[in-house]
């Protein structure tokens, strides 16, 4: 399989103008929703529409056919909401008009029996002949934040960022975009490949790997028709960017009766795991793990080694996090170096843990957390930090702010102080990570329990992920380390 030329994707992801074919005046129909979504997120190019009966939809004057479009603006992309039967003629007209990409939402193709499969083959052959890049059919649409493009028949529109999504299932695109909206970790491009008749998930990922707007790929795949070709595509993608895979059907019925012991032990799941390890892809077990891994690649530097320090303001959290790191196949709880212990001693009363987890045990004053974090991150024996306890002070501040005594009795002043401190700690985690080139992951359940808490809010403001548990931070960090090690052992920078 030869990769499609990157220029061909330009018309899909950064079109100069779009026409919605089969736009509808009924707000419940896809042909309306698509036009609405394209118009409502700030897309700057020309937007046109066709509708057999004409009329004005959302302020756009719909014309009966592509041939009726005025030649007043360049159009690169057709967003197809017409029935399958109308599409061959539509594509021919679009090619005449200079359109070089089509996103086809129409159903009735490969998913619809022999007749549909034949129609799909014919449509691909026609698009090939016309020089049109055909996305879908039977897909939900395409999102591209550099162009503020929301050409899809569903919500949401995510914040801009570095993650490139390609999915064989449209609803997983929505899941990933919803997590993006929730966490603030943005998306560069996202596409629902639908039946992937011409352009497949690896084709999109291959484009992302060279796309300056994208630093990490996130993909959902179901059936893999030719596993070997897929593996080879994965390998040339992971050399250029980290790739997180969520695979459906991992345990479904793959286990056939086998004569050999080796065959009996070869489940689809294990073979896929092995392929991912060999080709440097990150395999995630769940949708949230997949998003969080991608978000971590997008926002944290890669760790140089497996040695993790836990920095916590309270004991129990540190213990559980240490357990998770110790149990992890690839990470290690760093033994606390003597010189680092001595440095931290200068900042804290003697009751601190004097070990890793570095439990400050309530001994901290105004500047202790940023100071100790700087010492730990600066030490060569430490490759990464998991930071726990952010937001505690602001949580108390909230109770005070919402209680009956506020703002009297000195409450206003202390509430301000607490909130400022948490914001400062969150900023310190990002700044120290940038200065040292080491990942610092902040985890607190307040990320979801109280997203308005100034701790998690400020983490989002630094464009990093605030992990809702330390276990999830450890899993994400493990994926980063595994990928870093895969690159390093193969001599990849």
């Amino acid at each position: 399989m030869k990769p499609l030329h990157p220029e061909r994707f330009r018309a899909l992801f950064d079109p100069r103008g779009i026409v919605v074919a089969g736009a509808s005046s009924h707000p419940g129909k896809f042909g309306f929703v698509a036009l609405h979504n394209i118009l409502s997120q700030g897309y700057a190019g020309a937007v046109r529409a066709t509708n057999r009966e004409g009329g004005t939809i959302l302020g756009v004057e719909a014309v009966p056919s592509i041939d009726d479009l005025a030649a007043d603006a360049p159009l690169d992309l057709v967003f197809v909401c017409t029935p399958a039967g109308a599409n061959p003629e539509l594509l021919r007209a679009c090619a005449q008009r200079g359109i070089t990409a089509a996103f086809v939402t129409s159903a009735g193709y490969g998913e619809a029996g022999d007749e549909g499969r034949a129609a799909e083959r014919d449509l691909v052959a026609l698009a090939d002949e016309l020089g049109i890049l055909l996305a879908g059919p039977n897909g939900q649409g395409v999102v591209s934040t550099p162009s503020r493009l929301c050409a899809q028949i569903v919500a949401p529109y995510p914040p801009g960022g570095d993650i490139g999504v390609a999915s064989q299932s449209g609803n997983f695109v929505s899941s990933f975009l919803n997590y993006s909206v929730q966490t603030g970790i943005g998306i560069s491009r996202a596409v629902s490949a639908g039946n992937a008749a011409m352009v497949t998930v690896p084709d999109y990922l291959d484009f992302y790997a060279d796309d300056p707007q994208t630093t990490v790929g996130l993909a959902y795949v179901e059936g893999i028709a030719d596993g070997r070709a897929f593996a080879e595509r994965v390998r040339v993608i992971t050399e250029r960017m980290p790739l997180v895979l969520l695979k459906g059907g991992a345990t479904a019925g793959g286990q056939r009766a086998a004569a050999s012991h080796t065959g009996a032990l070869a489940s689809d799941d294990r073979v896929l795991d092995g392929m991912c390890h060999q080709m440097g892809a990150i395999r995630a077990a769940t949708v949230e793990e997949a998003f969080e891994a991608a978000a971590t690649f997008a926002t944290q530097p890669l760790p140089a080694g497996p040695n993790v320090a836990v920095l916590t303001t309270a004991g129990g959290w540190g213990v559980v996090t240490a357990d998770a790191i110790t149990a992890h196949r690839d990470l290690a709880l760093a033994p606390l170096p003597e010189d680092l212990r001595a440095s931290i001693d200068t900042k804290l009363p003697p009751r601190w843990s004097r070990n890793n987890p570095i439990d400050l045990a309530g001994g901290e004053t105004r500047d202790t957390i940023p100071e100790v974090m700087t010492m730990v991150a600066g030490h060569p024996a430490i490759d990464a930090i998991v930071y726990l306890g952010l937001g505690i002070q602001s949580n108390q501040a909230r109770l005070m702010r919402e209680g009956p005594f506020y703002p009297g009795d000195g409450l206003e002043r202390i509430v301000d102080y607490h909130q400022r401190q948490d914001a400062r700690f969150a900023r310190a985690a990002a700044e120290i990570s940038e200065q040292t080139g080491k990942p610092i992951l902040t985890a607190t359940e307040l990320a979801t329990a109280d997203p308005a808490n100034p701790g998690p809010t400020t983490v989002r403001g630094t464009r990093r992920l605030c992990y809702s548990s330390s276990n999830r931070a450890v899993i994400a960090l493990g994926h980063l380390y595994r990928y870093a090690r895969w690159r390093r052992s193969r001599g990849l920078a």
């Binding site: 070997r228 080796t262 065959g263 294990r270 392929m275 060999q278």
Partner: protein
């Protein structure tokens, strides 16, 4: 699908560097005794033939034979146990190797991904332990080393109960040999090396079963 006899299976894998015991193929009980004396006691004696895939289940493996009389009696029994369906048979006489650790390795042709190399822990217990890893053929030396690192039961690979640590280089060579066999001979659809007994740190394939694609010639 057609299988090769244990002796022929071992010859195929040994040609690609897999370590196998120093063993003899003989036709009669007298020759079995002579072979055992040459190898040194104790020995193992098995009934061997192209059509015999599951010897243990049929009682066609006699372990830990310590004297010439033991070998003779076992050989006579085994030859008598052959059925017409077994086709031509022979006796395989091998040294009785012992080690506390057993591994499994092999080749498997996956429906989606094609030929794969496998490594696992446990020999006959492998299917219960399920600590196994796969890679797509062909593998590099780095892939082989990472397969060993990926096993969950790492303490078993270090020094263990008075035995030295597993020689990772020798184990990697076994995996690379399987990959090379698959590349050299695409008619090989599966290989079981089970168990690989770890002797002085080195994995020895004390049993091997090569399965060929339908219609291929032995």
């Amino acid at each position: 699908m057609p299988t090769l006899s244990e002796a022929d299976s071992k010859a195929r894998v040994a040609a690609h560097g897999v370590l196998v015991p120093d063993e003899r193929i003989v036709a009669t009980a007298d020759d079995a005794v002579a072979a055992a004396e040459a190898i040194g006691f104790p020995v193992v004696t098995k009934l061997c033939g192209d059509a015999i895939a599951h010897k243990t289940e049929r009682g066609l493996v006699r372990l830990n034979l310590r004297t010439a009389d033991d070998v003779r009696a076992a050989a006579v029994d085994l030859l008598a146990a052959a059925t017409p369906e077994d086709g031509p048979v022979a006796l395989l006489v091998a040294p009785m190797l012992s080690g506390n650790r057993e591994l499994i390795a092999g080749l498997h042709t996956d429906a989606q991904f094609g030929p794969t190399v496998m490594l696992g822990v446990g020999g006959i217990l492998a299917e219960a332990i399920r600590d196994v890893v796969f890679r797509l053929v062909p593998i590099t030396a780095l892939d082989a080393a990472e397969m060993i690192d990926d096993l969950g039961t790492q303490p078993l690979l270090g020094a263990f109960r008075g035995e030295p640590a597993i020689d990772r280089g020798a184990l990697a060579a076994t995996l690379l040999g399987l990959s090379a066999l698959s590349v050299a001979d695409p008619s090989v659809v599966s290989v079981d090396l089970n168990p690989l007994i770890v002797v002085d740190g080195r994995p020895i394939a004390v049993d091997a079963l090569v399965e060929l694609a339908e219609g291929s010639t032995r």
